[in-house]
Symmetry: C2
């Protein structure tokens, strides 16, 4: 038996990310006990029914009390309030972390409520599916995915090392990054693409001359991928855009600029410009496959996952 990294871990919020963490921690023997809390009574009932968490508690404070690690797995906009609730019960030497997709805002919202003697090490696992909720989790979600740690300059080295060991134990590759750079990188690779996908799916729905059923029936590869992205949790994504506003708007500004240039190439019939652009983007795709973040198999992403 491996030595657990933490004696007790508390998961606050029990959606896809937290439930996958639970199964991954169990798989790796990484925590002796895992407590959990979700705001919705229905979610707590589901968690108890499917054996998600060793103990499901009826308040965030109850779950967090006595924990060596508390992970905030709630939407980015709710992190500050939850932290305020659990701050008073945290034991000295405990570590608080989170899994939010935006880091500067979470640091600003959570830090003021971290008590003296408690460590705060923000984190962001780059993994997910289109599914949400306590039943969506599976142990393999983080295997060979990245988890970015965003420690503040004065972070406790041992607290950072323990959290790294936990994520590595759950299968992730861990890197450290500055909060503002994290938010820009994610605006490019995740936040802007999500807003764009949401928009395109909305346009398709609005178009009166093409019925929804036609759009659905004939959704070729392009649109189908967009709908998968656009099926993500609405609350989570609302909070992401509201809290990573500047970086997202910057990327969207550049995006519309480039899109207008390509639209003009279409309008004027400039085939060479289109061809050169499409050839360039193809190389980026090859890079992603070579970097091992996806497979070359048709329409196939990650090999594991629930059926």
């Amino acid at each position: 038996m491996t030595q657990p990294v933490y004696q007790r871990v508390a998961l606050i919020g029990l959606g896809l990310i937290a439930s996958s963490m639970f199964w991954a921690m169990k798989r790796g023997g990484l925590a002796a006990e895992v407590t959990g809390f979700a705001r919705s009574a229905e979610t707590r009932d589901t968690a108890r029914r499917i054996g998600l968490c060793d103990r499901v508690c009826d308040s965030a404070a109850e779950a967090a009390e006595g924990a060596d690690l508390v992970v905030l797995c709630v939407p980015v906009g709710a992190m500050g309030k939850v932290m305020q609730e659990i701050g008073p019960v945290l034991k000295p030497g405990a570590t608080v972390s989170d899994v939010g997709s935006v880091k500067r805002h979470v640091i600003d919202a959570v830090s003021p409520h971290i008590p003296e003697g408690v460590h705060f090490v923000p984190a962001h696992p780059l993994a997910g599916t289109e599914h949400s909720g306590p039943e969506a989790g599976f142990a393999e979600l983080y295997d060979n995915r990245w988890c970015l740690l965003v420690p503040t300059p004065d972070a406790d080295p041992q607290a950072v090392a323990d959290l790294r060991a936990l994520w590595e134990g759950m299968g992730a590759n861990v890197e450290e990054m500055d909060a503002d750079h994290h938010d820009l990188v994610l605006a490019v690779t995740s936040h802007a693409p999500h807003l764009i996908a949401y928009t395109m799916v909305g346009v398709a729905d609005d178009l009166r001359r093409v019925t929804d059923s036609e759009v659905i029936k004939y959704s070729a590869a392009g649109f189908r991928d967009f709908t998968r992205i656009a099926a993500s949790d609405p609350t989570m994504w609302r909070d992401v855009f509201l809290t990573n506003k500047d970086a997202t708007l910057e990327i969207l500004g550049r995006f519309t600029e480039e899109l207008f240039a390509l639209q003009r190439a279409i309008r004027t019939g400039d085939g060479d410009q289109l061809f050169d652009y499409f050839t360039r983007t193809r190389a980026i795709r090859r890079g992603i496959i070579e970097a091992g973040q996806d497979t070359a198999a048709p329409n196939f992403g990650r090999g594991n996952g629930k059926a």
Copy 2:
């Protein structure tokens, strides 16, 4: 042994679509002999090496001569020229079809070169992968995918029925549609999403403060899906945009309009508008899964396909 639908089928162009047709026709015993031609000598050599087509010819006319069905599988912009070449050798009663992603332009370019006594039944299989070329094909590509037939009002009913039988034999579900409506439906479900994905991948590449290697390394689900779309064949897509110009530009115009509205919601902090929009798009995704065009499994599209 099933009765073949056609004695001889000629495939002009030997990329992903044609090579998948060949393997699907062989699987179903749908054609007694399949001839093939590709403009590039290298592609013809590859085809001969891997046994793609019963006979690989050194000119389009040689492949088409005596064929009961000739399928134009070249980029949309090249269809007219190829048709001009093969028109004189076609046998009376033969059918010409194509697999182009745009239909009005193909009809306008091909029809003038169809000889008296030869039928023309345009078609468009809604299937593909990010891979191109003669080695990318596989027999299952069309299984349970749609193939849209776009016959002109005066089309020969038997010619349409035979082509339908061929596509159904290759595993596809067949529907008929008017050319202009086809081009609008495809602009929404495929053409505009492809241009948008190309654009976003280009923006990521341009951004100097985030390195390509970071973009590649941390490409979360959203961006990864975009890169898959943006890896499609540059020549094919250049031609699609140039030949379905009006519908694509109309959809892109609506798209930027909606994107600006969402950007404004982000800028002004209107979380309700974002939440409502994202909730609406989620329902469309559910419709696609219910319509059987995709599975609910995480990051998993079609179950078959080469490894």
